[in-house]
């Protein structure tokens, strides 16, 4: 009988199912068998999720030094998971949906839409204020909701967004120290494009850098998405003027490549020597120092450019930690934030000055550090950022980074408004009207949800 059920030289159906079942069971528990649990090493656990830092040595310092040493001091097993920037929101949504995940979650922009899922971090701010003084306005406006009076996130640092320009080229058009005003950029840009085939490179695409750059110009022209109280003010004469300026800037000093860009395109174009100016973090110069030292010497930085109303720049990246309400180790997460911020000087150095402190006193010798960087050409290249805490501002200025501001940013409403105007697809008036309609709907929606 047994012979009839068994294929020649093969296995019976029953044997196959048994083998498959055993294999499946072994696979599911395999990891636990092969890798012994480490739970005995520490009495507590802290799980941190961070995006992969733009400066790789920072991750090495954070993951292998700071987190490990903090864990030892606090009898905690610290796990750090790093993911790509593009996956942050989707990952956060997944954790919220599952109501489980990491104790500390780092966004690289303010996450006000997650407010109802996060712990109020006012005690972290209060403790740090006692230890290292007050945070800068930018940090508070990116993490606090004045409507609900809650700190939905905590920001230890931000990344400045200075003007990167080619000193050699600007020198040829009479601006060896770079442009000082937006009008300078337009005038010099027109000549640089025409005479040297080296246009200005400010993005007009559906990506983060464009969102930042367009807001920088808007704020310098006195145009804003909202006022200090969070009321929508996009539809204004100043916004119209900004649109007309960007259209002229594009037509006179840029090319259609700016419509194609992603967040790294301006880095690539600048380092390849194809453009003469970009708004970006110091990732351009840091990458150039490693990959193309010759061009690195030609790229210099300058402060926020003067517009008709003011000289102002945006943060390029806002480091915003949240502690989920469903986190397993809320107290540990808060303590980690306090300790990390208190020793932020080490992070500042490890990140090669990419991240600047939101609590200025944590890096008391900031000016001295950035004034003499052996990797920079010249060594005081980054000294221009010594007063960045005074001119960097948040998305949503002069108000707070609210949920409405976040959706307006994340759905590229202003990027499209500027790109349509610059390309000539829409008149400035029509593009503004369309964006204002979208903004009104977004503001009304979040107001109804009680978050603004």
């Amino acid at each position: 009988m047994a012979e009839t059920k068994k294929r020649k030289g093969g296995v019976s159906r029953r044997q196959f199912m048994k083998a498959a079942g055993t294999a499946a069971a072994a696979t599911s528990i395999g990891a636990n068998i092969i890798i012994p649990g480490r739970s005995g090493a520490a009495s507590k656990k802290l799980r941190i999720l961070q995006w992969v830092h733009f400066v790789p040595p920072y991750d090495v310092w954070f993951n292998k030094k700071f987190a490990v040493e903090w864990g030892k001091k606090n009898d905690t097993e610290v796990t750090v998971d790093n993911i790509g920037v593009a996956g942050i929101n989707a990952r956060a949504a997944a954790e919220v949906s599952a109501q489980r995940g990491h104790d500390l979650f780092l966004f690289n922009w303010p996450p006000p839409t997650f407010e109802e899922q996060t712990v109020d971090l006012k005690d972290v701010y209060a403790e740090l204020e006692g230890k290292v003084g007050k945070p800068i306005d930018l940090g508070v406006k990116s993490t606090y909701n004045p409507k609900t009076k809650k700190y939905f996130a905590f920001s230890p640092s931000f990344t400045p967004d200075p003007v990167n320009y080619r000193q050699d080229l600007f020198g040829k058009v009479g601006m060896p120290n770079g442009p000082k005003t937006w009008d300078d950029v337009r005038k010099a840009g027109a000549r640089l494009k025409k005479e040297f085939n080296n246009p200005i490179g400010i993005g007009l695409a559906n990506e983060i850098d464009t969102g930042m750059a367009m807001r920088t110009i808007m704020y310098a022209f006195g145009a804003h998405e909202q006022d200090a109280n969070g009321n929508l003010t996009l539809n204004s004469k100043n916004t119209l003027e900004t649109l007309k300026f960007v259209k002229a800037l594009y037509q006179e000093a840029m090319t259609a490549e700016v419509f194609t860009w992603d967040a790294a395109s301006n880095n690539r174009a600048m380092i390849a020597g194809k453009i003469s100016l970009a708004l970006n973090a110091i990732s351009i110069t840091r990458t150039a120092e490693k990959d193309n030292p010759q061009i690195s010497k030609l790229i210099q930085l300058t402060k926020a450019l003067q517009g008709p109303t003011r000289a102002i720049g945006l943060e390029h990246v806002m480091q915003c930690y949240v502690v989920w309400k469903f986190a397993q180790n809320i107290d540990g997460a808060k303590k980690f934030l306090v300790d990390y911020t208190t020793s932020f000087r080490d992070a500042f150095v490890a990140g090669e000055f990419y991240d600047f402190p939101c609590f200025p006193k944590t890096v008391p010798d900031l000016t001295k550090l950035i004034s003499n960087d052996p990797k920079a050409h010249p060594p005081d290249k980054y000294k221009v950022l010594d007063d960045v805490l005074n001119w960097a501002t948040n998305v949503g200025y002069p108000g707070y980074s609210t949920a409405a501001i976040d959706e307006l940013f994340g759905t590229w409403v202003l990027n499209v408004m500027f790109a349509k105007t610059a390309s000539g697809k829409s008149t400035p008036e029509d593009a503004l009207k369309e964006a204002d309609t979208a903004a009104k709907r977004i503001f009304a929606k979040w107001k109804q949800k009680g978050l603004i």
Binding site: F114, E116, A205, A256, E257, T260, K274, A403, E434, K449
Partner: protein, 312 residues
Amino acid sequence: MATPERGASSQAPAKSLGGLLDRPEWLGPLMIGPAVLFIVLVVGIPFLLALYYSVSDISMGDRTMRFVGLKNFIAVAGTSNFQTSIVNTFVFAIVSQILVIVFGTALALALLREFRGKWFIRFLLLLPWVAPISLGTIGWLWIFDSTYSVLNWALEALGLITPQGWYMWLGIPYLAMGSVIAVHVWRILPLATVILLAGLSSIPQDIHDAALVDGAGYWRHLTQITVPLIRPIMLVAGLFGLVFAFTDMIVIFVLTRGGPYDTTQVLSTLAFFTGIQGGDIAEGAAIALFLFPMLLAVAIGFLRVARRAEVV
């Protein structure tokens, strides 16, 4: 001798798992069960969840869902970027599917013939399908890159364009739409070709021989014999491709993110930007599901036509 034994065995009460596995009426459902479970878990439940999200006011941070009826659908339908996205979606899906069917049929006909190195051509053809799509699309991103475009470099090397005349493949609306369609066709073509190849292989050789004897020329043979006979499978390939083109977002997300100025924005990318980046999951779900009734109708229509053609 074996048959009565098996019959007797199946009538006897199953006392063990092994006994159950030997009975076809149990083994069949057991074998298909994981597949059904998989579909229910990864397709069915998320789909039902998305349906519910679309008629609720759920947001990224607020998980308490209140029923709001069709409010989200009405709200998004009135926005200009949604209307642009609808038009773009149809252009993207229909043009890419026409190209896929035309090129797929041509390739399948070519691969039906015997020639040296056929296996290698088949291998190359399947590469876009088996390679991770995000990886492949990133490769295309470099091909279309404004600074390092291999395509522009080649055109310049051939003397067809000047250094100042580089095409901004992803920066001019019609070039950008053409580029995303081209990449989508590149991606879907292998699947369509394999499906069509299977269809062509199933046509009995004597039908071709009879047509040859009757003096049918190439085009007559193709349009009056080959295409009608593979029409059911062609419709299935078209249906797969169409649904894929209407719902997939990877190619556009990686290459243009809807740009330049929303001229390649499609419903799937708009849903992502609204729901995940913008935080409004309810509206994102509404945008994603907007075309579901139409796609369902198209799928039913296609399958009916395919079935009728099969019967004929």
